[in-house]
């Protein structure tokens, strides 16, 4: 097998590789990120995935804060909402010497080691919209979250109950099965429905068995929406606690003329056509613009040493004061609802 010849070539090639690796190693150490004044801070804004309208709005708020603070904000992140995909971009943030990272955690565990590394590299980290696991809260300074988790879930149950007239069985069309936010909200839905709406039930018996996963992907969410209708033809209502899912559900409901009520967490700009034509009566959401905006203020205050994220401490953003509660978290408030009456006003905002 031309062994001799090959060995020689292998050796030659190896030496080239070795030389280039060596050159690479010698080429220098990472430039130290310069710190100091709040002007000119380099901030990375990282969504779970870059192609989601919700995060575009979230980024808008962040950019506004950056402008006010005189910092540079770059919007970078993966195109699939998974932890491992996000890790590559966290590495990039470390590599490029950013001062601050504002991130919506796509996976509450998998990104923690990388966040730890970023922290060691001197980067100030604030999670916004989605947090890391409670045990790992030391990896970030503070988390800026919409509202207390159980209330997000139970509010959605109230909306669907109103839509279906407080009777019938319902299902959930969620994001991915490991999406931490959605799982907490869905967990809160179960007992709340039983306690408050005796004439309502879950299509699969329990909330767990009635939850379908569209993975925050439009096509897959549509398929799962149809799967619910096929499997449970009597389903009265579907809650989709994710903007991708509720949009897919509304579109498919309209296309099929399906006789099922849909509600959930939706972006007003995306949901406007379906709310205006009556396909969907009501969706709700907090304001992602505020989430991004407040998170940047929190992060910059932490970077400048005027705020440490401790329980009871506070910082200011846009003239309002935000206080840190248990778990080193700041909650923005109750979810806001959109109906025919106010959708025109909000669809142009986000």
């Amino acid at each position: 097998m031309r062994k001799k010849n090959m060995n020689k070539k292998v050796a030659k090639v190896l030496s080239v590789v070795a030389a280039s690796v060596l050159a690479l190693g010698l080429a220098g150490c990472a430039p130290a990120g310069d710190s100091g004044s709040s002007e000119g801070l380099k901030i990375a804004i990282m969504p779970k995935a870059i192609n989601i309208g919700y995060f575009t709005a979230w980024n808008e708020g962040a950019q506004k804060a950056c402008e006010e603070l005189g910092a540079t904000c770059d919007y970078i992140g993966p195109n699939e909402a998974t932890g491992p995909a996000q890790v590559e971009f966290i590495n990039q943030v470390i590599q490029q010497g950013y001062d601050v990272l504002v991130i919506s955690a796509a996976d509450q565990n998998a990104i923690v080691p990388s966040l730890q590394k970023a922290k060691e590299a001197g980067i100030t980290i604030v999670t916004s919209d989605a947090d890391v696991a409670a045990e790992s809260k030391d990896s970030r300074v503070v988390s800026i979250l919409p509202s207390a988790a159980d209330r997000i879930g139970t509010a959605e149950v109230d909306w669907i109950a109103e839509a279906v007239g407080e009777k019938g069985s319902i299902a959930v069309l969620s994001a991915s099965a490991t999406a931490a936010n959605q799982n907490v909200w869905i967990e809160a839905m179960g007992p709340y429905l039983t306690e408050n709406y005796p004439n309502m039930s879950w299509v699969g018996g329990t909330v767990d068995k009635s939850t379908f996963y569209g993975d925050d992907d439009a096509t897959k969410s549509t398929q799962q929406f149809n799967a619910i209708l096929t499997q449970y033809p009597d389903v009265a209502g579907i809650i989709s606690p994710t903007t991708v899912g509720v949009l897919a559900a509304a579109a498919e409901k309209k296309a099929k003329g399906a006789n099922v009520k849909v509600t959930g967490l939706g972006l007003p700009s995306e949901m406007a056509p379906y709310i205006e034509d009556g396909t969907v009566e009501k969706v709700g959401l907090w304001n992602p613009i505020d989430l991004g905006y407040v998170a940047v203020y929190a992060a910059v205050a932490a970077k400048n040493g005027t705020f440490d994220g401790a329980v009871g401490s506070s910082f200011e953003a846009g003239g309002k004061t935000y206080a840190v509660v248990d778990g080193n978290i700041v909650f923005l408030g109750d979810p806001f609802t959109f109906t025919k009456d106010n959708i025109a006003e909000f669809k142009v905002i986000y």
């Binding site: 097998m1 031309r2 062994k3 010849n5 090959m6 070539k9 292998v10 090639v13 190896l14 080239v16 590789v17 280039s20 050159a23 690479l24 190693g25 080429a27 220098g28 150490c29 990472a30 430039p31 995935a49 870059i50 192609n51 970078i76 992140g77 993966p78 195109n79 699939e80 998974t82 932890g83 491992p84 995909a85 890790v87 590559e88 971009f89 590495n91 990039q92 470390i94 590599q95 490029q96 010497g97 996976d107 509450q108 565990n109 998998a110 990104i111 923690v112 080691p113 990388s114 730890q116 590394k117 696991a133 045990e135 790992s136 991915s176 099965a177 490991t178 799982n183």
Partner: protein, 338 residues
């Protein structure tokens, strides 16, 4: 590859890949000040470790004319088993052994279906791709396991002290070196090539075809298991949806590394250079500001190139040799490409 005896201007595919790698490193260094740094190198190595380790086994399988599409699922199943065993209270060291054993068993199962029942590996491993992934969900449901022992986690994401190399470099180098030696310098390696070139002929000349194939699938499972351990430690958690789509990266790297999809041709170092190239390119493009969407186009494009380019060069070469070489040499040429 097949043309070592040809005139020196000819560039074999795997040498081309190494050249490509060197070029990519140089271009990367010039386009971004952050590229050629120790910490970036560490990230690149860490990000390709699992793919590289699985690719060593995939190289054997594809050279032998088989394929294993279930590698990412086996990796995730190994990771999920580790998480499950640990959550059930077993010591983490035992959990890791269980993870490796599960990978090996999953690979053996693939191998038994292919060899004993004579089923095509493409179909078998598409089925087990889904099956093993399903088992991950059964084991962990939608609750990832975290809070693994600090010592092990730090192995997963720290560098070897005083170097820029992540700990995963050690298994990677050992396994790659072993795979290289066995493939190119042992009887087993020659058997693998023989099976890929012509399984019938190999059988008649005394190669235990089924035994070798069974071994290769088990090897693929075990390497996926090793990758599963590294993956678990790197992300400090075991999640049922880990590594979705990794099989594509692995196969892309193997083909880009010069292994013929039809079997019988390939080198280990071509594949390893290809894996590193992919990592380097991704990192470089990311650092100069390509978005995640654009990166997808690049990996898809590379895969296409590695399938199309060999066909084109082969065509050109045959035509050239027909036009310019004496009859006897031409005959030899043609034989080579049959």
């Amino acid at each position: 590859m097949a043309n070592f005896s040809l005139p020196k201007i000819q560039l074999s595919w795997d040498k081309g890949v190494v050249l490509f790698l060197v070029l990519a490193i140089f271009i990367g260094s010039f386009s971004s000040e952050y590229f050629a740094t120790a910490s970036n190198l560490s990230f690149v190595i860490a990000s390709i470790a699992e793919i590289a380790i699985i690719a060593t086994a995939m190289t054997y399988l594809i050279i032998a004319g088989e394929i294993d599409l279930s590698v990412a699922s086996m990796m995730s199943l190994s990771s999920a088993s580790i998480g499950f065993a640990f959550r059930e209270g077993l010591p983490f060291e035992i959990a890791i052994l269980i993870g490796l054993a599960v990978g090996l068993a999953a690979g053996l199962f693939n191998g038994i279906l292919v060899t004993f029942f004579g089923l095509p590996s493409l179909a078998v491993t598409i089925a087990t791709l889904a099956l093993y992934r399903g088992l991950c969900w059964v084991l962990l449901e939608n609750k990832p396991v975290n809070q693994l022992p600090e010592f092990w986690i730090s192995l997963g994401f720290r560098n070897i002290p005083n170097t820029f190399l992540p700990w995963s470099t050690i298994p990677l180098v050992i396994l790659a070196a072993a795979a290289w030696v066995v493939l190119h310098h042992t009887k087993t390696g020659r058997w693998v090539f023989a099976i890929g070139i012509n399984p019938e002929a190999a059988k008649f000349s005394g190669v235990p075809v089924n035994r070798v194939k069974l071994g290769l699938f088990a090897y693929s499972g075990l390497m996926s298991g090793v990758a599963g351990v590294i993956y678990t430690l790197r992300f400090a958690s075991a999640s049922p949806d880990g590594g979705v789509g990794y099989e594509l990266s692995v196969i892309a790297a193997v083909l880009f590394g010069g292994v013929a999809i039809a079997g019988g041709v390939g080198t280990m170092w071509g594949v390893l250079a290809a894996v590193v190239s992919l990592g380097v390119m991704r990192s470089g493009l990311q650092l100069v500001g390509f978005s995640a969407n654009a990166l997808l186009i690049v990996s898809g494009g590379l895969l296409l190139i590695s399938v199309i380019l060999p066909k084109v060069t082969e065509f050109v070469r045959i035509r050239n040799s027909r036009a310019s070489t004496p009859k006897i040499k031409q005959k030899n040429e043609e034989k080579k490409y049959e």
